[in-house]
Amino acid sequence: MASIRLQFEIPGKLKTWSLGLIGVGLVALVFGMITKGFSTDEHEQVHFWGTLMYNTIFWTLVTNASMFFICVTTLAMGGWQQSFRRIPEAISTLVPIFGSITFAVLLYVVLSDKHHIYHWLDTAAVAKDPILSGKAGFLNAKFFIIWTTLTIGFWSFLGWRMRQLSNEADVEAMDHETGTKFIFRNTVRAALFTVWFALTVGSTVPWLWIMSIDAHWYSTMFSWYTFASSFVSGMSLIALWLIYLKNKGYMELTTQEHLHDVGKFMFAFSIFWTYLWFSQYMLIWYANIPEETVYFKHRVQGPYKGIFFLNLIINFLCPLLILMKRSAKRNYTLVTFMAVLIIFGHWIDFYQMVMGSLMKESVELGWLDFGILSFFVGMMIFFVGKALASKPLIPKYHPFLKESVIHIV
């Protein structure tokens, strides 16, 4: 493998850009903290903490989706992803970092008793409210904190175990027996992660973190909808890094064929997201029961109307029409454009999920949102770059690497 560059060197431009973005983000964060976060006006406080909440949750889920991608492809005995698996691995190193930020934000919201964000924190109101007291076993501060700790802790730990195992593929060539054992151990660790992922992102965590903002309202589909949102953005993020590294002359073993399959994931999960979005919407629209339509009332007919339908256009119509063609999924420029669009679209989706419930009267999408976004994008670029440089880019002794090299769609 003489011609293959295994060591990623962080280009100066990447570092400058990431630090610049983090700097812009920090300025916005500090300025927002002073003018809004610690102001006495409740509206401003909710604006600040809500913005932090949806950004932290979005980026934690998106980076965690990378580890989910590795684990499910491992469980499916997939070989094609091996040539670029170090990219999702590097992205998933962000889970502990973004996870701790999310944890800090949520902990502050719960412990400082911000019941304008989480209405169920108000124990006096819950006691008088038959619906909320019925949910009190799930929606209470103690359970929230314990479950959030476990969730983020196990995501980080099980993901770390998976990445540790991957290091063995750099050491030396494996004979048949070692290889079989290696694959088996991969399967076990991937299965553990996937089960924990299903118990958290697949069901409880989006209910707890996001849906409980509308404490009375519930939709069992909500978690899957959130999962689809984060997974499709996660695949787009992988595609972006893949294309970036290809442009810099790395990833010689990864070709259009791999990009095509990543593009298929982006396309398919955009459709899947729409399916869940629509299933949730249509049932509520059809039944037309006031306690259910309360979620959509100000989104479809109120100030969030524009964002609500923009969301549908960016996340459904654009991927459907643009990514449908085979040649589009194999085109580096188009996939880059679509990946950025999809990540932005789902960020907007998280925006309306959280802020649509917190600030029903007006849409205040502005400097604070984009500032905090820039902070997370900068952090993401900085740490993924670092993680990519810390390991060889290709697990060259992985037993399935050859499958990836000869992969043709």
């Binding site: 629509f278 919407y281 249509m282 629209w285 059809y286 037309n288 085979r326 043709i408």
Partner: protein, 196 residues
Amino acid sequence: MAKKKFVVGCFDDEEVLFPAVGKVRTAGYKIHDVYTPFAVHGLDHALGLRETSLHTAGFIYGITGTTTALSCISWIFTKDWPLNIGGKPHFALPAWIPITFELTVLFAAVGMVLTFCYISQLAPFVKKHHFHARATDDLFVMVIECTDKTNAEDLKAFLAANGAVETDIQIAEEGWWLGRYDKDEMRFENKQIVAA
């Protein structure tokens, strides 16, 4: 349909088949088709076949389905027979999406299957000539169409030199015709000549 003259070369290994396909094409012969027991990755590129248009056809069938569903339902529920269903507006788009989706899938699926059968010349009560029965079992069968200028014997030797285990010359119908395989007594017999 007119009968044509074909030279048939059989290969028992795809490793031999791929270079042979390349050499036959470079030599200027026109490959009618290669029959394989299973889907061989990359053979379409080696044969220089163009990208199939089946998916474009599928897209057109799909939007035909979408248009049919939406125009039909909207005409029924707003013009022809407006009904008050649960106080919903007559133009109740969300309620129609599932049906629209189903018709889109139905039109695309049925349309693509029928189109695929037509371009592969497959249908009930229709027959096609089989160049070699073992093409469905363990042989890769390359069929080359002869023109007036083709020297069939030379071509046979050329194929054998490039690794063909069997070669022969057949005069056969190239397309499909009405008939049934189960009425055909000659079904499993073949008149192939084993070379070298």
